[in-house]
Amino acid sequence: MNAVWASGLRKRYRKRTAVDGVSFSVARGEVLGLLGPNGAGKTTVIKMMLGLVRPDAGEVMLLGRPVADPRARARVGYLPELFRYQPWLSAKEVLDLHVRLAGADVPERDRRDTLGLVGLADRAGDRVGGFSKGMQQRLGLAVALVARPEFVVLDEPTSALDPVGRADVRDILLSLKERGVAVLLNSHLIGEVERVCDRVVILDRGRVAASGTLAELLGGREVRLRLEKVTSEAEERLRRAGPVNRDGDLFTVVDLEIDLIPDLVADLVTLGVRIHSVEPGRVSLEDRLLDILGSER
């Protein structure tokens, strides 16, 4: 069963189409990354998925129930992009409130542990009004995690965090993944997405520009070679290994099985080519994203 299933979501704000026919799903236990440039409609999609924004068209099933039914949100944890919690409550009181609203039965110790997980254990009794932006975002994470969610939606969860905080979020995401909690992650930090997500949906101007597993999106591996004295036979040998892109003395062979690299290098040496460097690599998600967004425009 899917944690969320959305079909044909459409939303217009006056004359501007924010989301135009977006469909996607997140399986239970899966971590899905939502990527795209500013204004691509990512946050609107998330809000429609949670029943916070009414779609003009389309359908959403959240943990097996239509999203219009409030019970669909019983096991959902959400950290909004625009996060703000009652400044006149303490961190602990905010968590207590959300546990009550979720109708969950969470013992006192687990609530304390959740605050500890986000690094706020010693600030539990302090008013949220005195928190820095980063601390409020940590509290938002605790709010999203406290009521034993089966599906966690994190909209830009590290926007206000320092590098240590970002690493903490990555650890939290990995532990959610281990426990089989489904996660939808919207983040501009592509490295973060690349490290933790099973699948990625790329939105551009309100539409799904691409989607798939990282392997599907990034394709096979590639090898970059810096070569000198490349004869036509040597070029022919490179082309037999895979499609070649040439930039001066830099040759990039893509979709190459990594086991075939030693044979290729040995053959090139035999053909008299002088080899300065061989770098096996992989297309980064960032390059692929720019590539996809570039071809869309």
Binding site: L52, R54, A72, Y78, P80, F83, W88, L101
Partner: protein, 284 residues
């Protein structure tokens, strides 16, 4: 009960944001000034003689109404400015996002906040009003004819205004909703005074201004019903004339009718229902 959770949360917010403290200070100032005024009234000689008991009761009635108007104004302004930010402010700041992503209905949140605000306004009216009655009794010996009904009507007036504030709060910005609600409250009061003058002069079309405005926004109608409950009917009878017929803003010529009370209850329910409907349809 989630509704009560939000009611309690609203009360806690009022306490922690120091609204309670500000209201308490304002009220103490008003009560102290009124105590001084009433004391002076009793001891001061006018034209070489002190007031007779009848005159004193009539003047105490009017002055009590005047001070109670001040109290109701504090309650109305306080709750309207609390009601304004409660929905619009939370939507604007993002606080509503995390709350409304929980398995709760938006109408539950709205009704909970409404209950909290009603309890806040009603509690204030009851405490401050009672304190005022004690002050008037201690200085002049005057006790209102029907204090419970009067205070209940004043509390209801506060409830009506904050319901309107909540409705605006689902539509416009936090500050605008408070300002518009208080502005309409003032305008209805003035229309009520104009209508009273019309009745006093026997001019039906001018009197209609007050009636129509009291139907559209029942705050002034409730206020006039409350004033009637605070006044001394015997002293008023002896006074007579156009002032008692509605021409004087701090005297009321008739008690509230059951029909008007029923209309006010309906009005409140409809406006609250409309606010819930608007909030349900609103994109966050």
């Amino acid at each position: 009960m989630i509704v009560l959770t939000f009611a309690a949360l609203t009360l806690r917010e009022a306490a922690r944001r120091k609204v309670l403290r500000a209201l308490a200070v304002l009220t103490v100032v008003l009560l102290a000034l009124s105590a001084w005024g009433f004391h002076t009234l009793v001891t001061k000689e006018f034209d070489g003689a002190q007031l007779t008991t009848g005159e004193l009761r009539l003047i105490a009635s009017q002055l009590l109404n005047l001070v109670m108007f001040g109290l109701s104004l504090i309650a109305a302004l306080g709750t309207a400015f609390l009601a304004g930010p409660t929905v619009a402010g939370e939507v604007e700041s993002g606080t509503a996002l995390a709350i409304l992503a929980r398995p709760i209905r938006r109408s539950t949140v709205l009704v909970g906040k409404w209950l909290g605000l009603v309890a806040f306004g009603g509690g204030f009216i009851a405490l401050a009003g009672l304190a005022q009655f004690v002050i008037v009794y201690a200085t002049t010996g005057y006790w209102p004819s029907d204090p419970v009904t009067g205070l209940a009507l004043l509390a209801f007036q506060t409830a009506v205004l904050l319901t309107l504030g909540l409705l605006f709060s689902t539509l416009i910005s936090p500050m605008a909703s408070g300002v518009v609600a208080v502005g309409l409250f003032g305008a209805t009061w003035i229309a009520g005074v104009v209508g009273g003058v019309g009745r006093g002069l026997g001019n039906d079309s001018v009197a209609a201004v007050g009636t129509v405005s009291q139907v559209l926004l029942p705050t002034d109608g409730l206020w006039r019903g409350a004033m009637y409950a605070f006044q001394d009917p015997a002293a008023l009878l002896g006074f007579g004339g156009p002032a008692v017929k509605g021409g004087f803003p701090f005297l009321s010529d008739a008690p509230l009718t059951w029909a008007y009370l029923a209309w006010t209850i309906t009005w409140t329910a409809v406006v609250l229902g409309l606010a819930a409907l608007l909030l349900r349809r609103r994109d966050l």
